[in-house]
């Protein structure tokens, strides 16, 4: 990888966009999180496990994850129709499948876990930002999970393998590959590839994605931990 290559927004090929994360941002939800990666902004609310209606949709073996990925009408330059598009239905499905890998679903038969993802601003990498926000919200809701999953996209742009594509890069990219992993167990929970990569490029891109996910996971853990350390401050006041 040539280190001289600089991307349109001035980043290096292996550099993430600036990240902001917060948990417990919604009072009424059982768990919630907000994630910003560059200009991409996503908010997630999680409810459950709770009784599932209609009953016939419930499974006697395990909880059912219901997931809605939705882009706000104002999230793009051109107004996006609020009706679920084909793409949104697909993303809801792949995110649901990724989350189902990490949740101990068999602990809550006949119930549902409902995940609502609202994309406030879309600038590439929304499915990855959504997954990052979802795993924070699940942890915040106290739903038992195997690991905090982390996701990031990699791609090929102007012949270079780059990390965390924004919309401009995504539009012009030769390939785009979102990856989500369970970092503690070296497991892939989502991998899609749009475009063409050689075997060599794929390996290079995948390694870069794992590296990016590890960095994001570190930020996720810091975000959760700092939430409790900030409450701990009260302790010193009255002792």
């Amino acid at each position: 990888m040539s280190s001289e290559f600089v991307r349109p927004d001035g980043r290096l090929p292996d550099q993430l966009r600036p990240i902001k994360m917060a948990v417990g941002v919604l009072d009424r939800a059982d768990g919630s999180a907000y994630v910003e990666q560059g200009n991409t902004k996503v908010i997630v609310a999680v409810y459950g496990p709770r009784e599932l209606h209609p009953r016939h949709k419930a499974s006697p073996e395990a909880a059912v994850v219901r997931c809605r990925y939705h882009m706000a009408p104002f999230s793009t330059r051109e107004r996006k129709s609020p009706n679920p598009s084909r793409r949104e239905v697909e993303l809801s499905k792949v995110i649901k499948d990724a989350l189902s890998q990490t949740i101990f679903l068999e602990r809550f038969p006949r119930t549902s876990i409902d995940v609502f993802i609202e994309v406030l601003e879309a600038d590439g990498g929304t499915r990855c930002a959504s997954i990052n926000a979802c795993s924070l919200a699940l942890a915040n809701a106290g739903i038992p999970i195997r690991d905090l999953i982390s996701a990031v996209a990699v791609g090929k742009y102007n012949g270079h393998i780059i990390l965390d594509l924004n919309d401009e890069e995504d539009e012009a990219a030769e390939a785009d590959m979102p990856v989500a992993i369970m970092p503690s167990f070296n497991k892939v929970v989502l991998l899609q590839l749009n475009g063409v990569l050689t075997e060599e490029e794929f390996k290079q891109a995948f390694d870069l994605a794992v590296k990016g996910c590890m960095e994001i996971n570190r930020i996720q853990r810091e975000t959760l931990r700092s939430r409790y350390l900030s409450i701990k401050g009260e302790e010193n006041e009255d002792v």
Binding site: D30, G31, G48, P49, R50, E51, P60, F104, R107, F108, P109, R110, T111, L138, A139, N140, A141, G142, I143, P144, I145, R146, D147, L148, M182, P183, S184, F185, R221, L224, R225, Y228, L229, I231, K232, E234, E235, D238, V239
Partner: protein
Amino acid sequence: MNERRIVLPGEFLVEGDYQPGLNVFRQGKRFYSSKIGLLSIDKKVVSVIALHGVYEPKVGDLVIGKVIDVGTFSWTVDIRSPYTAILNASDYFKGRFNPLRNSLRDALAPGDMIIAQIVEFDRTRNPVLTVQGHGLGKITRGMIVELTPSKIPRLIGRKGSMINLLKKEGRCQITIGKNGLIHIVGETVEDEELVAQAIEKIEREAHTTGLTDRIMKFLRRSRGLDV
């Protein structure tokens, strides 16, 4: 060894010959947390006291529930869990239940709160309650406050240290529903409110150390006593 550090889901806890307790799972001999909580290693049992989460019903648990519906032969009771509970009329009327003579609605109406015990629960059916037993039945006085169900062990404290403190210094009778509802009965409303405030403090600071001492100071200071 009993460190009380905050752990996160997927975090590696210990390796070796341990038993997995609450909110802990194993991969071979390695143990991981499945929730945000406080690590607690007691002898050979590794567990995590969760800071969030719903109540998971267990047979034998004492719970406090709210009657939400009256049927022909049973009541439906909300016990703040993913599963609503059932209280059978035959249990309430001690088996001498006659739909023509006894009115379910006169005994317990929607909105009434009850203290009950879970007698039956498995993966296929909703929990079944009983109100036959000491201290069980309809709640007629006092105050009910909420606490995140996973923080109940914190409210009880080691060998009951916290709950005994609340009863003594708070001058109230306290019944803990495992589902996170707590029934407080005191001589005066002020006593009850003081205990309620203390429980609120436990909710907020459950993950901190030295909490029992701080609650003691809080209760005594509020009454104008020496700390």
